[in-house]
């Protein structure tokens, strides 16, 4: 049996209330909220966050890592390798990007389910458009990670039953490389064109799984063409109560990540035996059909999608626009940071990307960053690596620095003492200057500190422990 072994999502902490758009511009926006990646998040960091949640639920180390996004942090350079490094996977674990097209998330998931080694499929996206646009309001930011394997790898929580595929070339939505927005053809064209493709893939999937539409307990239909999804999904013949909320009111459409994100959310609420279908509209249609197993009852998420949705904080529309680079806000009058050195960073991949310190075997003292000579006792080259990324810490002192350069000042900064030993001075993420306090419990989170000379500087911050762990 092949299927899903574990899954996790990352919904950024911040939300935009869509009514803020019309309040500002007199038009645009809508109702409900969309998720907003913080200024220090990108598709790579969000992918890391989702992947860490997925892997926290299993002992299995995947043999492959696939990363899909339509908003890659880098082109040419593989982004999956940063995710791979943050997850501290072994060098024999392949890491590939599925890049560019919105379909690549659903396609990577289906491909991993169909055959192969145990594979962690990570999809992330950051969606938006010009101010007041429908894409700005409908879009969302987020990531999902789904670990695929055989039951010989570990307990399968959702068995793969079959798939349906329809592929067709037509110009419905597109974006040139480097473009600041997507373009779309007239809405009716997409709605009419997707209809038959949805039927075709759906019938193929039902035939492949020997199921009827009535057998489907949960149906997820996602795609960036809202009308095609809403109108055509009703014609697929499933029961009304089987339609799964696509989180458009609370998260927005996370593009490449969305089918995996809504599927993971549905799995977190699924009962054993339920049949789940996921249909994705993107230049054709992808359908996969799964059935929850008895093992799903024992699967517990470190922090479920619903927990994350419930724990968000809203940001103003002005903050949203500045974080998206659509409005330039006056920075502190300080020099821009220097680009990190590739060779210096590579020598310390474990620290920079994995947040791995070292522990002196003789004194037990933990050193962050890792050291060769112990601060206590002076032992030389007698250290063992200590992964700290999952260790909770406590804020022992903090400050708010309004003078230092930051992509979004002020910097909230704390001295953090980690449970079980180890201290590091670190920046806070997802924490306003009024929220921090001595004694606050925090967890490491992989972030993009800044970008200098077209180099993204990734490292770890700490974020307040929120919701259920």
């Amino acid at each position: 049996m092949r299927g899903i072994i574990a899954a996790g999502t990352h919904i950024p902490h911040y939300r935009l209330d869509r009514t803020e758009v019309a309040a500002f511009f007199g038009k645009g926006g809508g109702r409900g909220q969309r998720s907003v990646a913080s200024y220090d998040e990108d598709t790579t960091t969000m992918g890391v966050a989702a992947a860490r949640r997925a892997l926290a639920a299993t002992d299995l180390e995947p043999q492959a890592l696939w990363f899909a996004t339509a908003s890659p942090a880098y082109l040419e350079k593989t982004n999956a390798t940063a995710v791979h490094a943050a997850l501290q996977l072994g060098p024999e674990v392949g890491a590939l990007d599925f890049g560019g097209a919105l379909r690549s998330g659903a396609g990577a998931l289906r491909t991993a389910l169909t055959a192969g080694v145990s594979t962690l499929v990570v999809a992330a996206d950051q969606r938006g458009g010009l101010a007041t646009s429908a894409d700005e309001a409908a879009g969302g930011d987020g990531a999902a990670a789904v670990l695929i394997g055989d039951d010989t790898d570990g307990p399968v929580i959702a068995e793969y039953l079959g798939a349906g595929i329809a592929t067709e070339e037509f110009l419905e939505r597109w974006r040139l490389p480097g473009g600041d927005r997507s373009r779309a053809w007239e809405e009716r064209f997409g709605e009419v064109t997707y209809g038959p493709l949805m039927s075709q893939a759906w019938e193929q999937a039902l035939a492949a799984t020997s199921l009827s539409a009535d057998d489907i307990d949960k149906l997820i239909v996602t795609g960036t063409h809202g009308r095609a999804v809403a109108r055509n999904a009703k014609r697929l013949g499933v029961r009304d109560e089987a339609m799964v909320d696509d989180l458009s009111g609370s998260v927005g459409n996370t593009g490449t990540a969305h089918p995996l994100l809504v599927l993971t959310s549905a799995l977190e609420q699924a009962s054993p035996g339920e049949t789940i279908a996921v249909m994705t509209l993107a230049d054709g249609v992808e359908v996969i059909v799964l059935r929850a197993t008895d093992a799903i009852a024992a699967a517990a998420s470190a922090m479920s999608t619903a927990d994350q949705i419930a724990s968000g904080t809203t940001v103003s529309y002005g903050t949203f626009l500045s974080w998206r680079g659509m409005v330039s806000v006056e920075p502190p009058n300080r020099p821009l940071p220097n680009r990190p050195s590739a060779s210096a960073a590579h020598r310390r991949d474990d620290w920079k990307f994995g947040f791995v310190g070292s522990r002196d075997r003789s004194s037990g003292m933990i050193h962050l960053p890792p050291a060769r000579v112990s601060e206590k006792g002076g032992a030389v080259d007698d250290m063992e690596p200590v992964p700290m990324a999952d260790t909770v810490g406590t804020v022992v002192s903090f400050t708010i620095d309004k003078l230092v350069y930051s992509p979004s000042p002020p910097v909230v900064f704390a001295v953090v003492d980690f449970d079980g030993g180890g201290r590091a001075p670190l920046e806070l993420a997802d924490c306003g200057p009024d929220e921090i306090e001595v004694g606050m419990r925090v967890l490491p989170t992989f972030r993009r500190l800044f970008t200098a000379d077209e180099i993204h500087n990734y490292f770890w911050k700490v974020a307040p422990v929120r919701g259920v762990r």
Partner: protein
């Protein structure tokens, strides 16, 4: 093995200091030349009488050529020194040891910094290629960590501590207003400072050192030769230096209420000089008040106040010009300004003036019969710093 010091082996025979200010009309070369000429005049000697030179600058130049070129020093050794904000003190320390070793008869240490050509306020670190994981805070942010930690350790209301450190700035501005070389010569009150907007933690810009261009220099010779140049030499009693390991950023035992490197340097300096009760033996102290909380905890680390009592001693006026131990009688980094490479020598310049009774009358310290002056100079941040302590006296023995 041991730290023995060079007590009474080296004499200071001349000093000079330029105004510290935004010298838009002066280059680094100008500042070097001005400080050198003032110092030659002070010692009453010619440049050719000096055998070796040490040039301290943190970021304004890279080698001894930057001093030899403008001064046209021919055929002599010139060593560039850098050690964060202790650069000036370190240039002086190296020069003093060279005399004590017998290698040279007459030496000069000159510190200079041209910071105002950078285009940004504040000090900016020289870019060294790194892995990008280094802390991103300003120095103000790092030193602002002291206030809440100190308040919590000693159970004092943070508003009281905040007011206490504001009175340090008030004192240093008062002293600076009586110093024609100082960058800031206007008095201000602790109340006004407390009302200013915070820029880092609870610190306002008036809790931060002034950033200025400037230069200062010293000429030294063997103690037994001092009489050839002056009847009023100062004698080096102690030169102590400690570089930390950055332990405060690693070790959960560090609590941000003390600067251990400073305490260790002070203890070593007192041992070298034979000082057993600094409060009774030191007449005046120049300390590194880069931020107001720094001066607060230094009063304890240097032994001028008991642990947990400095905030109260400050409020009681213990370190004012008319207090029991005047600190930063020239205005300190706060009001005199902080041209990094020059600051350590500027501190020594004030000791030079005060112990010899040459400080302007309006800021001259009372004569308590004490014959020693102390310079404390640090570089870095709480938990990861370098620290210098020097002790100087008017008499041998």
């Amino acid at each position: 093995m041991g730290s023995h010091g060079i007590k009474d082996q080296v004499a200071i025979i001349g000093m000079g200091c330029t105004p510290f200010t935004e010298h838009w009309d002066k280059s680094l070369d100008d500042l070097i030349i001005d400080a050198a000429q003032l110092t030659y005049a002070s010692a009453g000697i010619h440049q050719d009488d000096i055998d070796a030179f040490w040039f301290g600058t943190s970021q304004s130049a890279a080698s001894g050529l930057a001093m030899g070129g403008p001064l046209k020093i021919h055929g002599k050794p010139i060593t560039r020194v850098e050690n964060y904000c202790t650069t000036g003190s370190e240039a002086m320390r190296a020069a003093a040891y060279a005399v004590a070793s017998g290698a040279y008869d007459v030496v000069m240490a000159l510190g200079a910094e041209k910071v105002k050509d950078g285009g940004y306020q504040g000090l900016n670190a020289f870019p060294i290629p790194t892995d990008g994981t280094q802390r991103t805070l300003t120095a103000a942010g790092m030193f602002s960590l002291i206030l809440p930690a100190y308040a919590e350790k000693y159970g004092i209301d943070e508003d009281e501590i905040r007011y206490s450190v504001a009175t340090i700035a008030e004192k240093n501005h008062f002293n600076g207003a009586r110093n024609p070389l100082a960058q800031f010569r206007r008095e201000t009150s602790a109340e006004q400072i407390c009302q200013m907007a915070a820029v880092a933690g609870r610190l306002s810009v008036f809790d931060c050192a002034g950033v200025a261009d400037g230069a200062a220099a010293v000429i030294m010779c063997r103690a037994e030769d001092a009489h050839k140049y002056t009847e009023n030499a100062l004698y080096v009693k102690a030169l102590s230096f400690v570089a930390g390991t950055g332990a405060g950023s690693l070790d959960p035992d560090y609590d941000y209420t003390t600067l251990p490197e400073c305490k260790w340097a002070a203890d070593d300096a007192y041992a070298q000089a034979g000082v057993t009760s600094p409060r009774d033996e030191i007449a005046v102290a120049e300390v590194h008040d880069c931020f107001t909380p720094t001066e607060l905890v230094l009063m304890e680390d240097l032994g001028f106040s008991d642990p947990g009592q400095a905030w109260r001693d400050v409020l009681d006026g213990a370190f004012r010009l008319d207090g029991r131990l005047p600190v930063n009688s020239d205005g300190g980094l706060k009001a005199f300004g902080h041209p990094v490479g020059a600051s350590g020598l500027r501190m020594l310049y004030e000791i030079w003036l005060q112990l010899r009774g040459e400080a302007p009358e309006e800021r001259r310290i009372a004569d308590h019969g004490r014959k020693l002056g102390l310079v404390h100079n640090l570089g870095g941040y709480p938990g990861e710093m370098v620290s210098f302590v020097g002790i100087y006296g008017t008499e041998l023995g």
